[in-house]
């Protein structure tokens, strides 16, 4: 589903991502954890096509993000950590816009938007301007806009920030359903308990380098993910 080969990303003299290689198969919820400034957001933004690829290669469903970005983007959706949305649109206008640029039919969009808006309890707010939304509501709207066109790969940067417990629970269910249906999810989080319970596999990044990756049970071992993470942070200092 997602292949990252030797991805390297530099900002001037700082190497944000250093020869990162990862493979995320279909059907997996893949967690991406690391300290602040480790390179998680840079990696996600590069996969999503927001940042140019200078070194390395990324393919999504066999399409290269470097050479065939448009095709690759058709197969994925991206939700940033703090989704700024168009304040002059209402929720439904925004979703309609996304549906139009994603080429969804009228029946598809009506069915899916209604479904996910009901699941995330946002239906009553869709007629309101986005400028009146709280952070959590914007997050929910971004989630609906990502899910509604049924992408193969969903990229999320800290998706649980700002969501209430019910919405968090619903999102986790949606993530599992998406992967059971043949999709894949690659998301970053600082909440290790969520990563431990939700993810099939986990990758840990430190200072731009991948320090550990694999199935969650393997990464965690006999301890907890938190202990593994802290130990890795200490050993690499």
């Amino acid at each position: 589903m997602l292949h990252i080969e030797q991805l390297t990303k530099r900002y001037g003299s700082k190497t944000a991502v250093d020869h990162l290689s990862l493979h995320i198969p279909a059907g997996e919820v893949y967690g991406f954890i690391g300290h602040n400034g480790a390179g998680k957001t840079t990696t996600l933004r590069t996969i999503a096509g927001l940042l140019p690829i200078e070194e390395g290669e990324i393919t999504v469903c066999g399409k290269s993000v470097r050479t065939d970005a448009l095709e690759a983007k058709r197969h994925m959706a991206y939700i940033p950590d703090d989704p700024e949305l168009y304040p002059f649109l209402t929720g439904v206008q925004f979703l309609k816009f996304i549906a139009d640029i994603r080429g969804m039919s009228a029946s598809q969009r009506t069915e899916r938007i209604s479904l996910y808006a009901d699941r995330l309890s946002l239906t009553q707010e869709l007629g309101q301007p986005i400028s009146s939304y709280s952070h959590g509501m914007k997050q929910k709207l971004a989630i609906i806009s990502a899910w509604m066109h049924a992408p193969s790969l969903i990229l999320m940067d800290e998706p649980f920030v700002g969501l209430d417990p019910i919405a968090s629970h619903t999102l986790k269910e949606m993530m599992r359903e998406h992967c059971r249906g043949g999709g894949a999810i690659f998301f970053s989080t600082h909440v290790l308990e969520v990563a431990e319970k939700l993810c099939d596999s986990i990758a840990i990044i430190k200072n731009g380098k991948l320090v550990m990756a694999g199935p969650t049970e393997q990464v965690r071992g006999d301890t907890s993910l938190e202990e593994v993470f802290l130990e890795l942070e200490e050993n690499h200092d």
């Binding site: 989704p83 309609k96 139009d100 080429g103």
Partner: protein, 528 residues
Amino acid sequence: MIKILLKMQARQTLHMMLGKAAKKKAVTLPLLFLVLFFLLYFTLFIAGFTGMLFFNAGQDWFPSGYGWLFFTMAGIVEFALIFLGSIYFTKQQLYEANDNAILLTLPIPHSIILSSRMIWLLILDYYLGAVCAVPVLVSLLVLQISPAAIACYALIALTIPLFAQSLSAALAYALHALTSRMRRKTLFQTVLTLCILGAYFYFLFSFSFESEALAGLRDKLAPALTGTPLGVFGAIQAEGAFLPVIAILLVFIALFMLLIWLLSRSFARLTTGTSVRRRATFRRDALRGVRSPLRAQIGLELRRFFGSTPYLVNCGLGCLLALACGIFAVVQRNALPAELSANLGTDATALLASALLCGLGCTTLISAPSITLEGRMLWILRSAPVPASVILRAKALTHVIIAAPPYLIASLCLIFAIRPGFTASVCLVLAPQIFITACAFIGVFINLYVHNLAWENETQAVKQGLNLVLTMLAAGGMLTAAALLSLPVLLLFSAAAAAVVACLPLLVLAFLFERLTVKVGAARFDRL
């Protein structure tokens, strides 16, 4: 603390004007020079106009015993220029800036936050005030009016910005409170702004440089203002009465201080209060109606434009002026257009009218901030499977869709008023349309390279960008090039032929910038 906040505002403004170039010293200085040059040009233009206006008025009014009217009108014009320039900027800076929330959480007294914003606004106000007051002062010196009267005027001119800012902030408060409860607040704000602007321009253009018109104006205004506070305001300056002038100064200063005190007590509530609006119901059938990505993007841009008063007024005003120009030509067709046609010929008049409409087209800047306005929402378009060329074309086409109808109506009105020949008529319609199209793509192209995506309030994005200045200059350059190319044809052949020749470079440039935008610009967009 105020110094720190003012430095932050200055940095924001610099970033707003120069974008990423602000970080590169080698680029910043030339760009700053360009901005200052343009600012100086604008200042000298307005100051020159004001100076000539008041000099001519003074030559007629002082000898006829209406010196008080001169001072009254000088005060009104200075106040109006400052007030108009600042009311929406005041509303956005004081009550709607994105960093209000952060600042309010810090241990900074609200009065300090408010004062720093007010000082920044006052800098703008004093600049606008000086643009008006300095030429008036020069006129008074040249007319050899009494030193006492001049001194009184100078003192009043120094405090009018305080009064204008007080009124601006108070009205901005009322507008913010009122519109936060409205559903169609953009429509309301836009209509209000246009009414104020319309009244201002009507008032300003009632002045004329001709002595007969000034005498007529004097005879119309003097009876209306005699005995009123405005009349007394002018009279005490004309008499050089210092004590009443000082009393007025103290009143202006006291009003300003009172305003700061009042606003600082309610600043947090005003900036963080949520609007209480009638809730709109979500209807599932609103999801029907499938559009192509291009149409969807155009729809988005149209909503952005019509949903924002600052954007509409600052970048779309040229459209309204063009329309006003056309209507004026029809109403006054037996006056100015007829005179020009009699002196220059109908085709040459039509050529002049084309140039005028294209000149107004230079001030229609709808596409110029369209990349900047994406701001922190750029990720939506960048992560979508839509070619950058489609997005950029949509931004340019939005400009054309909005501007084309009013300019077409203006062209048709001018044809009706001037009655040129067929060729000149066709050019009078085509030239502004081609010019607008070229400007649309120029604006997008320039904004791809000169932008600031980290703006704090939308007014900054549509008012204070170097991209806006560069787009206007580029459009002006294009118009100048077309005029220079057609001039020999006008002199050697005919006005109709010159009109055709003028259209050709515009057509070439429109095509060139369209190609540049969708090819080179698309690659640039993909790297933003």
